[in-house]
């Protein structure tokens, strides 16, 4: 029998970027917040004195979710048997205080104005037929201009280093800190892009170019370019993470209680209102009920979806009828790109920072004409110098054997003689790509696993081909002696790492029949449940998602504070 604890104003399920932002804002406004985090708390700067360890963190995924306890199941199509993702691969799920905000690279973009009104703008410009059958493109129920102040707020919390995107939406203020330093690699890309008439700008970075104090008084240090960023924690406190910003801010108020090793297994609700959550204290092995006036799901995309489905909250999506919303519009990304091999130069590829790089946005969104193209949207093209580490980086020209003498010689030679340019390729929602519960596999607590049904679509393949040709041209202009183009986009494969930009399933909108939450991330079906994060993206754009996740979280926090005063639907 679960023990019922005293009620709180707000409970968050997960304490990463979204949980941290909700906690900080609500606690500052005087609400009592409890943050339930299923992982542990050994993720602060002082816990990372051994962090320059590629094997432990980048190959064995020390900071990621332990999938022996919980994973997802996967199949490409609905008529296949889904099987468990037994090891992490294609994407890396986070766990523990700070979530993936601890081990991210720090690319922090704003989506384009086009993204938020994608359906309207596509039809306006290209006509109805541009949106092909079974692509469930929809507007987000919020515009870029409405979301802009929240982007601004998140950027100031992080102290982002950058310069404006010449092809992006209007900004109310500059980046809080100047762009990162430039290197031989990033200059080469910038100059080639300019030469080609493109519009390069510095990658907006959450590894900071200088010491910074944010509006909440939290200090973030200047990046050391040590090259251990993505998949690693920062031992310098130089990467904006929830652990050095919003979580300490929430704690200072005295209104926030962080409870670790608290794995939420159910949202308890009655008559369209949540009364609290049930969780397992994984150290004690005991069940608790935490009653709350407001329940906020702030875990990753997968778990936000899973908790709603196992709790029977919201209508599950059915791909056959197209009805229902929970699990709908699951999207991912493609990573097209080109690798260049340089015979005459050696680069200091082993140095770098997670978000040290340059971007062009000329092939993203609707920044180029799609009239004669058989796809919509695109992707941001990035050359970054995050630091090549030696186990994970053994670049060899196509046709080279993957082991033996020739492999050894070429992988060593080209380790310091390659540059890669790659995109975050936008992903459009497709009727038969979705999330639901697996009928047979369970986690170690006996709760069904989330099932992912996903494959790349014709839209994805066409976008991928087109973008690859553009990056080939850029790489040639950069002076590569040989370029290696990507092949064709094969079926989605859950094994090789691609990107941890999973989105959708609890999507935002202004129509309850086709969306799950309003633009405050408040559930249509339960006024006091807010579902925050990339689970609310109606499609996935051609950028890294965290900037938009942060902006939506600040808006959700404002909504929760409003709701706690007057109740009801906020939008």
């Amino acid at each position: 029998m679960a023990k019922t604890l005293p009620k709180t104003d707000v409970v968050t399920v997960g304490v990463g970027w979204t949980g941290g932002i909700i906690a900080a804002e609500c606690a500052k406004a005087g609400l009592k917040v409890i943050g339930l985090e299923r992982g542990g708390d050994k993720r602060n700067s002082e816990d990372f004195s051994m962090v320059h360890d590629e094997l432990r963190y980048a190959i064995r995924y020390d900071l990621m979710q332990d999938v022996s306890k919980e994973t997802i199941t996967f199949r490409n199509k609905g008529d296949q048997r889904a099987l468990p993702m037994r090891q992490l691969g294609s994407f890396l799920l986070g766990e523990g205080v700070g979530g993936s905000g601890v081990h991210w690279n720090g690319h922090t973009f704003r989506f384009l104005p086009y993204d938020f009104e994608i359906k309207t703008k596509t039809i306006e410009k290209y006509g109805k037929n541009k949106i092909k059958k079974d692509y469930q493109i929809q507007d987000w129920g919020i515009t870029y201009d409405e979301l802009e102040p929240y982007y601004d707020k998140f950027e100031k919390t992080c102290g982002l280093s950058g310069e404006p995107n010449p092809l992006g939406g209007k900004r109310s203020s500059d980046y809080p800190t100047p762009p990162m330093k430039k290197t031989v690699i990033t200059r080469k890309f910038r100059e080639a892009a300019k030469e080609m008439g493109l519009h390069p700008f510095s990658l907006p970075s959450a590894n900071l170019s200088e010491d910074y104090t944010n509006p909440d008084g939290e200090k973030i240090n200047a990046c050391q370019y040590c090259a251990f960023c993505e998949r690693f924690g920062c031992e310098y406190g130089a990467k904006s993470s929830p652990n050095v910003t919003v979580i300490p801010t929430a704690k200072k108020t005295g209104n926030f209680e962080l409870r670790t090793h608290a794995n939420v297994v159910e949202i308890i609700h009655k008559n369209g209102k949540a009364t609290g959550v049930k969780y397992i204290d994984t150290l004690k092995g005991e069940e608790y009920i935490q009653p709350a006036d407001v329940v906020v799901l702030t875990s990753y995309v997968m778990n936000n979806n899973k908790l709603l489905l196992v709790s029977n909250l919201g209508q599950p999506y059915n791909p056959e009828t197209g009805k229902g919303v929970i699990g709908k519009n699951y999207c991912y990304q493609m990573v097209p790109g080109t690798t260049g091999f340089f015979e005459k130069e050696r680069f200091n590829s082993y140095m770098g920072a997670g978000s040290l790089g340059e971007v062009v946005d000329d092939f993203n969104g609707d920044n180029f004409d799609h009239s004669d193209l058989d796809f919509i949207h695109g992707g941001a093209l990035v050359v970054s110098q995050a630091g090549y580490r030696p186990i994970g980086n053994n670049p060899v020209p196509a046709g080279t054997p993957l082991w033996g003498k020739e492999f050894k010689q070429k992988s060593i030679k080209y380790y310091t003689r390659t540059i890669s340019a790659s995109y975050e390729g936008a992903s459009m929602p497709y009727r038969y790509n979705y999330l639901d519960l697996d009928p047979s596999y369970k986690d170690i607590y006996g709760v069904p696993l989330l099932r992912m049904t996903y494959n790349f679509t014709d839209q994805d393949r066409n976008l991928y081909d087109y973008l690859g040709k553009q990056s080939d041209k850029v790489m040639k202009e950069m002076g590569a002696d040989t370029i290696q183009s990507q092949g064709k986009l094969a079926d989605y494969d859950i094994v090789p790492y691609q990107t941890t930009h999973n989105t959708g399933g609890v999507i935002i909108g202004d129509d309850p029949s086709i969306s799950a939450v309003n633009n405050y991330s408040q559930m249509w079906d339960a006024d006091n449940v807010f579902v925050v994060g990339a689970s609310s993206f109606a499609h996935n754009s051609g950028y890294n998602p965290t900037g938009t996740v942060g902006a939506l979280a600040y808006r959700a926090a404002e909504g929760i504070i409003q709701y706690s005063k007057k109740g009801g639907q906020l939008a």
């Binding site: 360890d53 590629e54 199949r75 296949q80 370019y225 033996g404």
Partner: protein
Amino acid sequence: MRMSEQENKKGMTRREFIRKGGYVAGGVVGGGVLGGLITQQTLKTNKKGETSPQQDNGKGAEVSYQRAMMYFSNPEEFTVLSQAAERIFPADDLGPGAIDLDVPYYIDHQLAGTWGNNARDYMLGPFYPGLETQGFQSHLRRNEIFNQGISKIQSHSQEKYKKKFTELDEEEQDKVLTDFEKGKVKMDGVTSKDFFTLFRMAVLEGVYADPLYGGNRDMAAWKMKGFPGNQMSYLDKIEATDFLEIEPVSLTAHMPAQKKKSNG
């Protein structure tokens, strides 16, 4: 007498010694002096015979007690593992190969631990083969896959060449391994391709991981590749226009000195 001197006097290369020595080739590996001698021989660090397995950097007899089997217990199996690893990452003009880098010890120790036992993988059933896009679905643990893989390397060598793997020349060894890579060898509960992929990756890990894991001996692989290891900061170097050769540093540099409490 140090092994290397012994070898030089006999005028044999390391590989010839292993192959022609008869001890391993004949599989007559007993305990005691002979077993120890052969085991050390397979792991010897220096093909030029300058240092012995138990000596580092001319600092004298610095014994590495970690150069011992933690998972495997049969020296012949360990020799097969070692020679196969050497084919993945062979010694050449650039520098040492897998054996000289202590990669076999790295793999052995990994197989004994969390990774070898799939402690952080979802290992609940039911198990079905699945599509390639669905990833690893074997009910076998990695160390079980390695046991079987090594035994299959031996039996496949017998089938193909009527010889033990350790008796084959380099080209023949490569052909045996290529059959695994292409999935041509029948294995139980896993494909030979999956075993090969796992094995290849384990070798590269042992080559390039921090020496704290027992491979990448003396950071020699980092030196070959131009990777400086664990550096605190490149703040003053990141804008450099030339390639910078930096002496590597391992994670031992981050360990604080441990002090005992004194009595009274």
